[in-house]
């Protein structure tokens, strides 16, 4: 049976990981390659690297970083941040990235999803959607959740699928950083609506939250950042917990 995936997310700025990292046995927490290798060893199923560098100039260094990651990491990984054209994607995939994620640029230009899927295949195109509840609607936001758009979560996710996205990475801005659990209801609705995998993001605070995302939210994968970086949840322990609860999961350290 296909296992549920646990995905640590690393924010990258100018080639270094940002956000505080308090992680055992890491000599240099700013080195994304070393941090990624530690996660891979612990049994992470996949990794996401989000480039939050401010300028395009700095983004050019991303492909060389991707190459460094691919050289040392023996599990799949996704790269996102500032990708807005097929020309941005080619060098990242050629450098060894397995998937790229697009977000604001796809909201501005939905045709981008079609173009990327056609050029590189759906399996490597992840549509990242940041949404928060406004009134009765889950409204899509851009610019790190600051700017509301006229798009709604469910119709946008469905459109993304029809245009050729191979996976949806759904972050609830309402839950992100709260450690109060993933946004279960919209997750379950998304998973009922779509026939491509959905990654849950935003709100992980304890092991039970991951179980809820998989069991109640029907998510295919769950992503988190700080709780892993700060060692609040250790991946092998999380995986044994989920396994004991009957979730189909690849053992840590396998």
């Amino acid at each position: 049976m296909l296992t549920k995936r646990i995905i640590p997310c690393l924010d990258i700025k100018d080639g270094r990981t940002v956000k505080g990292v308090n992680f055992v046995n890491i000599r240099d927490a700013g080195d994304p390659v070393e941090l990624a290798a530690a996660y891979a060893e612990q049994g992470a199923d996949e990794l996401v690297f989000l480039d939050i560098s401010a300028t395009n100039e700095k983004r050019k260094t991303l492909a060389s970083l991707v190459k460094q990651i691919a050289r040392h990491i023996n599990i799949p990984f996704t790269v996102g941040g500032g990708i807005s054209s097929p020309e941005d994607v080619g060098p990242l995939l050629e450098s060894g990235a397995d998937k790229v994620s697009i977000n604001s640029s796809a909201v501005r230009n939905p045709q981008l999803i079609d173009e990327l899927a056609k050029a590189f295949g759906s399996q490597c195109i992840v549509l990242a959607i940041d949404a928060r509840r406004v009134g009765n609607q889950w409204t899509v936001h851009t610019h790190g959740g600051k700017q509301p758009t006229d798009k709604k979560l469910f119709t946008w996710a469905k459109e993304g699928q029809e245009r050729g996205a191979g996976e949806i990475l759904f972050t609830s801005m309402d839950h992100d950083g709260t450690k109060s659990g993933f946004a279960i209801d919209p997750l379950a609705k998304l998973n009922g609506l779509l026939h491509i995998p959905v990654v849950a993001s935003g709100g992980a605070g304890n092991e039970g939250h991951f179980m809820d995302a998989f069991v109640l939210g029907k998510a295919d994968a769950a992503l988190a950042a700080s709780i892993f970086h700060f060692g609040e949840i250790k991946i092998p322990a999380l995986k044994s917990f989920l396994q004991q609860k009957g979730i189909n999961i690849r053992p840590g350290h396998e």
């Binding site: 296909l2 050289r71 023996n74 599990i75 759906s122 399996q123 996976e167 396998e254």
Partner: protein
């Protein structure tokens, strides 16, 4: 040992070559028929779409080169699918080493397509190391090769399918050994020892 990776428009050549580097293996990435034919072992990677890729191989004459190889050849992912007779992906005639039709997964219940993630290997008689029994390896694909007499490992998703095959000197895996952590490294090592 001389190892050649067939250079064509496959998306995972870089990842495959990094995996070999990690194993400390020397290799050449080449589309030169002479270099491919004279290698001790050949890797045929693959990420992409079947018809475009087959056209590319035919235009370069690489289809005939692959068919003529007598040394161990390992097809990976699309590489394995192209070793079959035909693919439902854009109705493509392929190399025909394995007399099988590559079929498309139809989403069923909460099982989505692509089949993306880690899934278990059930070994049947074949070339895979016994230590790989029930181990998880990484898959990303929307098309699959049905279980057949040449199947060396079966994985279940929507229906049972061939995760690995072998016929004579042709070895094939549907998953990505280059992205499958230690289990994947064992697959590559086993092939390189073959």
């Amino acid at each position: 040992m001389k190892l050649s990776i067939i250079r064509y428009n496959a998306g995972n050549i870089q990842s495959v070559s990094f995996a070999l580097e990690r194993l400390g293996v020397d290799f050449t990435i080449t589309d030169d028929p002479e270099q491919i034919s004279s290698a001790d072992k050949v890797l045929f990677p693959g990420v992409g779409e079947a018809s475009t890729t087959m056209n590319y191989l035919r235009n370069k004459g690489l289809d005939k080169v692959i068919l003529g190889l007598k040394q161990p050849v390992l097809g990976i992912c699309l590489g394995m699918q192209l070793m079959c007779r035909h693919s439902e992906e854009n109705n493509t005639d392929c190399l025909g080493i394995f007399d099988e039709t590559v079929k498309q997964f139809i989403p069923k219940g909460d099982m989505k397509v692509p089949h993306m993630g880690w899934n278990q290997l059930k070994l049947s008689n074949g070339w895979m190391d016994p230590a790989l029994q029930n181990k998880n390896v990484y898959f990303v694909h929307s098309f699959y090769v049905p279980v057949n007499p040449h199947t060396s490992a079966v994985t279940e998703y929507i229906n049972p399918f061939s995760a690995a095959m072998r016929k004579d000197n042709f070895y094939a895996v549907q998953f990505h050994p280059e992205k499958s952590a230690e289990a994947g490294e064992l697959v590559l090592k086993t092939f390189l020892r073959s």
